[in-house]
Amino acid sequence: MIELYLLLLFMIAAAIIAVEIEDLLSSIVAVGAVGMGLSITFLTLKAPDLAIVQLVVEILCLIILIRATINRDITQVKGRQKFITIFISLTFIVLFLVLAWSSLKNLPEFGYPIMKVAKNYLAEGLARTGATNLVTSVILDFRAYDTLGEATVLFAAIIGALAVLRKTGRK
């Protein structure tokens, strides 16, 4: 459990650095450190599927963010812009904390009762789907409707991004 708290402290420190630092490129590197810490946290909590996805998506986001900032003329955030950035971040942090507190206090205690729903999947998953990776059998068989919704969201997002970023027909 102690390594979990160490990773948590590392991630909080990296996030504070990402908000506070002046240079945008250094800030992106700090955001990447938060993502890597989260990936290692998933590994220590025995969720390799999530760890792989987190690591890979983090790399892709880092590439896109660096490409978006590296050719900008102004890479320093100063004065009024900095004030607005801190104000917006603080607003969203407070909003998130209030909403999270009001929804999380109704949840059962962490890890108790042990695997109320997952017990059935662990017992019957292999016999009913034939897949030895139970995560895949849940997301593509037991809960395939959720995956269909997720795929629809991703499809709509990518179509929207391509429509905004198109070159032909742009004045």
Binding site: V53, V56, I63, T132, N133, V135, D141, L154, L162, K167
Partner: protein, 152 residues
């Protein structure tokens, strides 16, 4: 297209990066395909494998410039593959009506720990891999093409 920054951008990165890319890019692509095909046996799956495959193409684009990557897989082909993945996924779901209901695992379950097992799950993994990989590659390509377009 006679601007200098665009021209130096097209040439890509240094010789060191290009050589390392030439050595590793096949392995990255192969690892992504492995993650997708073994999604029902080991950690991984369609989403992670698709992003790894997209990253191998993005790696090519960063090292050699966008022309080389566009020659391998153009933006219209990427859009085509994305839509194809979505259609395959929804077709697998609709084919479940053969046995009774939506998303029924209608194929033979097979033997556990074998590559050809678990019915529709590997097929759905491949469909999601097409969707995610081609979609993310197309978005990054859109960003890159828009940037050079805006400079003119």
């Amino acid at each position: 297209m006679s601007n200098k920054p665009i021209k130096s951008n097209e040439k890509g990165m240094t010789l060191i990066v290009k050589t390392i890319t030439r050595l590793t890019i096949g392995l990255i692509l192969l690892f992504g395909i492995y993650i997708v095909l073994h999604g029902h046996l080991s950690p991984g799956g369609g989403f992670a494998g698709g992003v790894i495959i997209a990253l191998s193409f993005i790696h090519l684009m960063l090292a050699f410039g966008k022309e080389v990557a566009l020659k391998k897989l153009s933006q219209s082909m990427a859009s085509f593959f994305e839509s194809l993945g979505a259609i395959i996924f929804i077709s697998i779901a609709v084919l479940g009506f053969l046995g009774g209901y939506f998303f029924l695992n209608f194929l033979n379950k097979g033997e556990a720990f074998h590559l050809f097992s678990a019915g529709i799950i590997p097929l759905a993994n491949i469909a999601i891999c097409f969707k995610v990989g081609a979609g993310l590659y197309a978005v990054l390509l859109g960003l890159v093409l828009l940037k050079t377009g805006g400079k003119e």
